[in-house]
Amino acid sequence: MNDRVEVRKTYKLFIGGAFPRSESGRTYEVHDTDDKFLANAAKASRKDGRDAVLAARKGFAAWSSATAYNRGQVLYRVAEVMEGRREQFITDVQAAEGLGDKKSARVVDSAIDRLVWYAGWADKYAQVLGNTNPVAGPYFNFTIPEPTGVVAAVAPQDSSLLGLVSVIAPIVVTGNALIVIASTKCPIPAITLTEVLATADVPNGVINVLTGDPAEITPWLASHGDVNAIDLTGVTSQDLAKQLEIEAAGTVKRVRRPAQPNWLTTPDLGRLASFVEIKTVWHPIGA
């Protein structure tokens, strides 16, 4: 039965809704936890990072002006398509993280549920983070959260799917556009997720996924004038995190520091609040 020619896979990046090879032409080998060869993944260069920023800036225009309801619907649609590919994700996570059947199913289900959870927040977080403020004068005074802009994120290295989704979802649900660098060691669940994103009504450029070495790409993103915020969740080296924070300061970016929470627990609104700008408006009351 095993006389089929093996279909060997060399995956590509996901930039602007398309699947380009790395501009550098480089790839690297991905192995499972038993060191068995799985596939080749593209090794993104700083030029790919730059292209992704251009794509994200384009995507941001449409995404940030979409209605909150629409953004929630799109995220829910991503969860729907992921549910349809549940078995594939379980296989991917198993190979990537070396988990057992039950544990990997639980991780995948949690990732899908996490998306649904954040999708539900799409038209609700503004009520929680925003406010009408009592002021002593003839004014209405509102505070509203607005998307920050283009966000670059480093996905967790160990939690290749659930951690990734937990980083992506809060950033995009608030209307930001995103460049995320997937786990270097286990990028395949992220690559499968790009195939989901490409078919799930997410406008081009809103989520861009790079695979490769964060230490190579992130310094360029941290100093990039057109990136508004950076999420260092998956950065494992203290030195790199410090360097990136310094680079980001040059253009006054928002920075979220490295963290390794238990991804299985239900999150709070912290991540949602990290990548919004709180704006306050004074509006005169008409006579």
């Binding site: 100093s223 057109d226 990136v227 040059g250």
Partner: protein, 310 residues
């Protein structure tokens, strides 16, 4: 190639000359452009190329919604493209509609050239009288460069005499102003026609030949520019006069601009690598050149927040 002993003016004589020009190998021109565009430009050369490209820009606004304020703002930008960096050179010229030429001239003084489009731009569909009046108006308002359009309908119908006569008349109306002749290559359809129109314009007295108005879908392309650069090179060999080339429309990135610089060097020669003989007709290109320049100066990528919104 034949020599041009005396000016050819009749349709018959022009046809005989233009149709005897060697045909253009379209695939060859495309391949040549593609091959030259893969050349790698190292940092030092790139910095030089970006500054040269900035000095070659004809900063353009040709919209129905142009206001005096917008033209003044553009002129300020033309003089000091990046207010945060005094080492950035000025652009070559500003390019506006004829009725804005006086405002542009008042804004830039004698520091820059003022180019005005005239002769019923962009279609060129008006009587010669109207076109000449348009030109005289713009010159009187202070334009020292006139961008005219040829009558593409007459050219395509083979009425070369008429096209020639109009260019000669416009050149006379220009007085001391430089004349750029827009061929609108996107409407000429073939590279053979581009070569013929280039020669026709040069022989009729053009100081520059320009690809496009920017108002039709197909604007400047590298193969078209190669053909025009070959024409000015051959014309120089024949007459000793250097004619300028101006691709316009569709050149938006520094990368594109540098590709054009490579085309000039490899086709016409280094003598054309000067704003006196080569210009970019562009509006958004300048911002990208500035972003690349900032990137080289600061060492990190810049973004659209750091240049003006035009």
């Amino acid at each position: 190639m034949q020599t041009v002993a005396e000016p050819l003016t009749t349709t018959g004589a022009l046809r005989e000359f233009l149709h005897a020009l060697p045909g253009v190998d379209e695939v060859g021109a495309t391949d040549r452009a593609a091959a030259l565009s893969t050349r790698s430009i190292k940092n030092e050369a790139k910095a030089w190329a970006i500054d040269l490209a900035i000095r070659m820009v004809d900063l353009t606004t040709l919209e129905g919604m142009d206001t005096p304020g917008k033209v003044r703002a553009m002129c300020a930008k033309a003089l000091r493209p990046d207010p945060t960096d005094p080492t950035v050179p000025s652009v070559a010229a500003v390019c506006v509609y004829g009725d804005m030429a006086a405002i542009a001239r008042a804004s830039v003084g004698s520091a820059l050239h003022v180019a005005a489009v005239a002769t019923a731009f962009p279609s060129g569909r008006a009587s010669l009288e109207v076109k000449l009046h348009d030109v005289r108006d713009a010159v009187a308002a202070g334009a020292d460069e006139i961008d005219m359009v040829i009558d593409r309908g007459a050219f395509l119908a083979g009425n070369y005499g008429l096209v020639n006569e109009q260019i000669v008349a416009v050149k006379a109306a220009c007085g001391t102003a430089h004349l750029k002749v827009i061929l609108e290559t996107g409407e000429l359809r073939t590279l053979d026609n581009v070569r013929r129109a280039s020669w026709l314009a040069m022989m009729a007295g053009a100081d520059f030949i320009k690809t496009s108005t920017g108002k039709v879908p197909v604007a400047a392309t590298p193969p078209v520019t190669i053909v025009m650069l070959q024409a000015v090179r051959d014309y120089y060999a024949l007459t000793g006069t250097r004619i300028g080339v101006k691709p316009a429309g569709g050149i938006r990135t520094s990368k594109d601009a540098i590709k054009y610089l490579v085309l000039i060097k490899e086709t016409a020669g280094e003598a054309w690598l000067t704003p006196d003989l080569f210009r970019f007709g562009a509006s958004t290109l300048l911002n990208d050149l500035l972003l690349q320049r900032q990137r080289m100066a600061t060492g990190h990528y810049s973004g659209p927040d750091y240049v003006t919104i035009d």
